[in-house]
Symmetry: D2
Subunit: 135 residues, 4 copies
């Protein structure tokens, strides 16, 4: 299961090295997984309104080549396993010349927002993902 | 009523112009007014926990000279009138050589966070400010 | 001369008030004017590569109604006068229900990036703007 | 070699989950390693002015417990090996009740800023670190 998102680099995301500050890739990952989930009919806004929040549990990012202001980046998001107590998104970010800029993953937990306790991946989410996972 | 806050410029606050991105001055204003209120015994955290949120109503900033990475900035925050339905903080930001970098103001409203309606400045706040306003 | 840009609110742009942090509107303004200039064939990237940087000189923003996560905002950018030593962009931000969220303006200077001194609006910019200003 | 930095959580660093957005921990890591290097007499500003930039090569962060607005966090930064072509900082972040909030590491490269090529850790840096590494 794979989704492609395009993100245009904003001026305020650069730093005085003249390239995108590394912390912003973590934000690109977030945008990309939310676009993916929205594409499959389960926007994160709805997940939250159903009482499930998804805090980040762990993340990793390898930086290979810098991104520059104004570039339209391609973020490829992959979901390879059905979520149980956690869900892992894997990412590749490419620039307009198809150079690989970064690779990484983010694992998120599911938390019942009223009780504040970790829960299993909710059915309304796994049901959708099951349908698309091996496409 | 005046308060001085020192803020060290962080690397991620710079942009590819090699100076602090202008949007961060607005964030410095916020930090400075919160330090001021905390200094006077009414931290914003407490204001929120008493059910009052303070959304920004209007702001203005003049940029005179750029701030640079690593500089310890001096933010002078002034409160000149007792708040009624709104509160206005006035700011000057200086660099370590005492050069004026920016001037501005931020006006905030008071909103009852449960009902979502604007309210008067709460007593626990005006009582403290009254004591110090003309010092 | 008017340009419409759509910006989707990102999760990291919200704060614990549950709405978009006010500093991000200043960043939306920047995105919108850059989209406008790019639309008219003079992307800011090119302005910089021609040796002109455009630091912000002054800005103002009135906040009327909060923006929420996931909303696709409409930013209307207007340019009403030909730039001379400065250029002023005027903004309105609306939410998907066409409610006015914020109004403001940003004035920028033109600076020769090699010499670090203010200059007049460059010809390659005014020539284009002249053509479209009263459309 | 270990250094302790205190960072106060800013309002704009929170998101609508009511806690610090996960991307900001990556920024806290940056602040902490810069404070450490400055403490040992080699501020990053000087490294850059000597023609060496240090782009991030890889990073990882485990999130254990959320940080809240207004908390003064303790960031412990550790340097365990002398840098060669790369340098690795290891981090723990604790809240005021000494609860471990996050753990992670960041590996940075050394790049000659004029030629844009990776280089060995510069002498002015390794000489200082050698002195303190096993203290």
């Amino acid at each position: 299961m794979e989704h492609v998102t395009h993100i245009k680099v904003r001026y305020y995301e650069t730093d005085q090295m003249g390239v995108v500050h590394h912390s912003n890739y973590i934000r690109y990952f977030e945008i990309a997984r939310e676009e993916m989930m929205e594409h499959y009919g389960i926007p994160y806004k709805e997940t939250e309104s159903r009482g499930i929040i998804m805090p980040v549990h762990t993340l990793q990012c390898d930086y290979i080549h810098p991104a520059k202001y104004g570039e339209i980046l391609t973020v490829i998001t992959r979901l390879e396993e059905l979520p149980r107590s956690r869900i892992t998104f894997r990412y590749s970010i490419l620039n307009p010349s198809d150079v690989l800029l970064a690779k990484g993953f983010v694992t998120l937990a599911f938390v019942d927002s009223t009780r504040g306790v970790p829960v299993r991946a909710p059915l309304f989410l796994t049901e959708v993902l099951e349908k698309y996972l091996n496409l």
